[in-house]
Symmetry: C2
Subunit: 379 residues, 2 copies
């Protein structure tokens, strides 16, 4: 039993956990449970909607970032240098441990699959994921980081990864990387249909080209009956100033049941949270690159990511800050197929306690002292 927990709605409660789930929530009656929270805020666990476990340098000494000016340049730099990083497993474990300590209770990771390394990263990540799956749900996206149609053999490698346990098929900038929107998306949707699995496509292109691709993806999702199982990550082009283009694209995404994943990157436009939700589009959050060959930033903390999303969106009210938290918890959980996420009877006892009076204060302060439970087990 967890006692004297402050919930986001202001209630002060005791929580009974049984078989990894919340069995009962009762008003706090002065009892002392196994864990007495003394009024700390108890929040639904954070959900990491987009991370690259195989890329991270976590646990290694600091390595200066060698920034390339374009996505293509970063891909090439990584292809050249990732061999020098040592095995994936210890780095992936170091990051998983930090993510869990920060309150993350479910994860979707992409893992590079390409013509140079084949399934090596996928196999390494799968090994780590299988270790951690006893603690928390993790999904793996088979991610063609170097392209599909422009890289011989990658389509077959993706096919193999899906057979071997990848949970979703990925894609990447069909126009900018492969120069073949139709060919790229044909393969992604074909593999998803063949294996009965979801889709999560990286799309970095800016408007208006990016939004045209989003509408194509949305139409394909609708045609394939894949509503609710397709995500486009990043989708910077939705940050367009063109209101008509935005509305048409958002409506297409809503109709096609395509969700948007954002990391609210610093220097570029991001998909606008409230306008997308107003048109029926799901948007959820992820950290993306965490201290790797792409970026020196990141620490695996999805509460910090909620703060970045909130800041960039100009959120100030408690209600808006709570929405930023939802984007980084409940909304991600729903997209990861975990519908009972939250502090409610019957939901998994996977949550995080921290010193704050409200979700808004939690985001503003991001206290690093956190107590985390995964399926009822205190970490």
């Amino acid at each position: 039993m967890i006692t004297d927990a402050l919930l986001a709605d202001g209630r002060c409660v005791d929580i009974t956990v049984q078989d990894g789930r919340i069995a009962d929530i009762t008003p706090h009656a002065g009892r002392l449970g196994e864990t007495h929270l003394a009024g700390a805020l108890l929040l639904p666990g954070l959900v990491e909607g987009h991370v690259h476990l195989d890329k991270t340098l976590m646990g290694l000494p600091w390595r200066p970032n060698a920034p390339a000016p374009s996505v293509r340049g970063r891909i090439e730099y990584e292809r050249t240098h990732r061999g020098s990083l040592g095995p994936v497993q210890p780095r992936a474990r170091a990051l998983m441990d930090r993510m869990i300590a920060a309150g993350t209770v479910a994860v979707r990771t992409h893992t590079d699959i390409d013509d140079a390394y084949g399934l090596a990263n996928f196999h390494a990540v799968l090994e780590v994921v299988q270790e951690y799956r006893a603690k928390l749900p993790i999904q793996i996206v088979a991610f063609p980081q170097s392209g599909i149609t422009s890289r011989p053999g990658v389509a077959d490698l993706l096919d193999a990864a899906l057979s071997e346990g990848a949970d979703l098929v990925g894609g990447l900038d069909p126009v900018t990387i492969d120069g073949d929107q139709k060919g790229h998306l044909d393969i992604v949707f074909r593999l998803a249909a063949k294996h009965g699995k979801g889709i999560d496509i990286h799309l970095h292109d800016r408007d208006p080209g990016g939004n045209a691709q989003l509408r194509d993806i949305a139409a394909r999702s609708l045609a394939a009956g894949m509503q609710g199982h397709v995500t486009v990550s990043h989708a910077f082009s939705l940050g367009t100033d063109d209101a008509d283009d935005f509305a048409a694209t958002a409506d297409a995404l809503a109709k096609g049941g395509v969700a948007i994943l954002t990391s609210a990157p610093g220097p570029v436009t991001m998909p606008p949270v409230k306008p997308l939700r107003a048109r029926g589009v799901t948007i959820y959050g992820g950290n993306d690159n965490i201290r790797d060959l792409w970026s020196p930033y990141g620490n695996g903390d999805m509460l910090e990511r909620a703060w970045m999303i909130a800041q960039k969106q100009g959120f100030r009210s408690d209600e808006d800050l709570a929405l930023a938290y939802e984007v980084c918890s409940t909304e991600g959980a729903r997209m990861l197929g975990l519908p009972t996420h939250g502090i409610a009877v019957g939901a998994p006892a996977s949550f995080v306690a921290l010193p704050a009076e409200s979700i808004a204060e939690a985001i503003a302060e991001r206290p690093r002292a956190r107590t985390v439970w995964l399926a009822g087990i205190k970490q």
Copy 2:
């Protein structure tokens, strides 16, 4: 003596402190000093270039933010509600203590002066500043938060504050708030000349109107021989896409010796750091609003602000991240008239130690466990 300190340039040193200053820096020779840092990174103290000590709610229970859509709306909201906040002093002290704990060693604070509250906030902040000046340098800007020419009596109140110890005269959106660019700036520059003090003007206007005002301020600074003593805070308009307008404005600022202060706010454009420096314009950092009636965000940590500036500027290399740190330390110190800032013999022994291998890692991680010295005294 402080032993086994890692400096940003990679040297591992012992530091001798005498009379509040750095008396000697020698290669670490295995000694154990009064404080043994065990290889922790020792960095020049952070400098808070723009804060509002009188506005903060720090130390009070969480208060939801009631966001208004415009600067004018926020001014009105604050005028209506600040009476309910209780005395300034305990809130200002709570924030000062947090800023120092985060490694800040010098501060410029604005303090509201207007027709509704007169010099009340100024007097309260002056009291707190006088308490803390034994520890660290603090400057007060007499800040006309509600305008000058549109608010009878405010010019005289600013005059009085400058006589009573304000270090700089402030200004605020001459066009948007007072509707009188000439009248507003005439008074600001007249008061600065009368008292022989510097200027720090808030300017929120976007381009192109903002840049026209910047050029006017730069021309006035040049004419008055005030180069190096004038700052424009925020200056969002410098984030313009118009390269010619940017170049003309930056060149005028350089010629007029006008520095730019930025807090890298989330949802709007910011002055570009490297392009401004390339044209000879000083840019330094500040937190601005910290948990007050304007914003729910902020915790007084200038290392976090350096990270926000770096993220928004797309900085990735170690060199660029070190520049972001400089913007939030050395550059601010220079503008605050503290030229010997840094880890060097003769400089004040005001610095911060934290667990990191490099400035880049310090910014990426922002470790919260910090050891801070102010003029040789460990805090």
